[in-house]
């Protein structure tokens, strides 16, 4: 249903930089459609990231985040084989989880 995220990792000296692209329309709820009516808000509201199952970051997003959102953050104390997982959930209840292994 939801399309996969694209997650890229760069690890150096125990710090892993995580770059994520998510596939989502992110309708701001401000824009008028072709019919002149406001296109209803449709956005990712919650994002969370885990390292080996432990939550390291959570986020709340509004309609002001761009379409096909990009997010970058860096996790300390990582080692090869660690599992980094990302989850988003939108205001329609759709969600998506993808995970990658630190190399």
């Amino acid at each position: 249903m939801s399309d996969p995220m694209r997650i890229r990792l760069q690890s150096q000296a125990g710090v892993t930089t995580v770059k994520v692209l998510m596939s989502h329309e992110m309708e701001s709820g401000q824009r008028k459609g072709d019919d002149g009516k406001i296109v209803p808000l449709w956005n990712i509201q919650d994002v969370s990231a885990t390292l080996n199952g432990k939550v390291v970051m959570t986020a709340e997003w509004g309609g002001g985040i761009s379409k096909n959102p990009f997010l970058q953050f860096a996790v300390k104390g990582t080692k090869p084989g660690d599992k980094i997982s990302l989850t988003w959930r939108d205001n329609r209840g759709d969600s998506r989880t993808d995970e990658v292994i630190v190399s």
């Binding site: 399309d3 694209r6 770059k19 692209l21 998510m22 379409k67 096909n68 990009f70 970058q72």
Partner: protein, 297 residues
């Protein structure tokens, strides 16, 4: 007043004759405007403009570079790849046996040698028209219906996804668009002719904006498509993710919207003229590396 093509004249016989025409044109322009240009003292104004222009361009370059780090087009490449391998259409088959010019099923590097002549269709085809052919031939889609549709219908969007996937498999490969067959040469000539065709309410042609280096429209740099660098950078970066539409545009869609803004009638999807223009740009790009999917305003 306006830049002319005088900079590109070579001293061959035919060009010498041509230069007479151009000199005449410039001469006419100067004779008419010269006295008024004399009234101006714009040297200082121009100097300060230049630095303002440079800082604006630097800032825009910074904006683009930041986005280039993670191109949303990558999300569509993933979708395109899965479409390519999915059994679809009336025949429930995948495109795995589609011949893009390097043999059935070879995707890697195929786009860098397109458009090209295909024996089975006996015509020169670009990326999208070849995908369209495979969709009809292998999967049983009705290409006539697909051609008649808009870019934003579901199955036409699928063509864009397939195109961005195929093109991405040539990233970093130097263009080597073939030009040995008479059919290919013919298409090049027609494409070039179309490129210079001035018409419509505004007297525009492709060359109005794309035959000089270093110009821009509003803040957009305009590639000079008559040069290898310009054609390589431009032709080589479509299909691309367009920020303004939040979607993938293929070269066919790029051309269509250029023609719209040229105030021309609407080019038919995958029509000979659109392919001919891609032959012109693709061959001019030869030697440059393919960089699609690009990221555009």
């Amino acid at each position: 007043m306006y830049p002319t093509n005088t900079g590109s004249i070579r001293s061959t016989y035919k060009d010498a004759v041509l230069s007479i025409i151009l000199v005449a044109l410039v001469g006419i322009a100067k004779a008419q405007s010269g006295s008024l240009e004399g009234l101006t003292s714009t040297a200082n104004v121009q100097k300060s403009e230049q630095s303002a222009e440079q800082s604006t361009e630097k800032a825009i370059a910074q904006y683009r570079q930041m986005l280039q780090e993670a191109n949303p087009a990558d999300l569509y490449v993933i979708k395109g790849e899965s479409l390519w391998n999915s059994a679809r259409g009336p025949k429930r088959r995948s495109l795995a046996s589609c011949d893009l010019g390097l043999g059935p099923g070879v995707v890697k590097g195929a786009w860098a040698q397109m458009p090209r002549y295909f024996e089975d269709t006996q015509r020169v085809q670009d990326l999208e028209s070849r995908i369209l052919f495979c969709m009809q031939d292998i999967q049983g889609f009705n290409s006539v219906d697909l051609v008649a549709q808009d870019f934003n219908t579901p199955e036409r969007l699928n063509i864009s996804l397939l195109a961005v996937y195929v093109a991405s498999e040539s990233e970093g490969v130097p263009f080597n668009v073939p030009m040995s067959l008479p059919q290919e040469k013919e298409m090049y000539k027609i494409g070039k002719k179309l490129f210079f065709l001035r018409a419509g309410t505004h007297d525009f042609s492709c060359s109005t904006c794309h035959s000089e280096t270093g110009r821009r429209i509003r803040l957009q740099d305009l590639p000079n498509l008559t040069t290898q660098d310009g054609a390589g950078g431009a032709y080589g970066s479509w299909p691309a993710y367009r920020i303004s539409t939040g979607s993938i545009w293929t070269m066919q869609q790029r051309l269509s919207d250029c023609f719209r803004q040229q105030r021309f009638p609407k080019p038919i999807f995958a029509s000979p003229a659109t392919i001919a223009l891609s032959v012109y740009m693709g061959f001019n790009a030869n030697g440059s590396e393919a960089s699609a999917p690009g990221l555009k305003r």
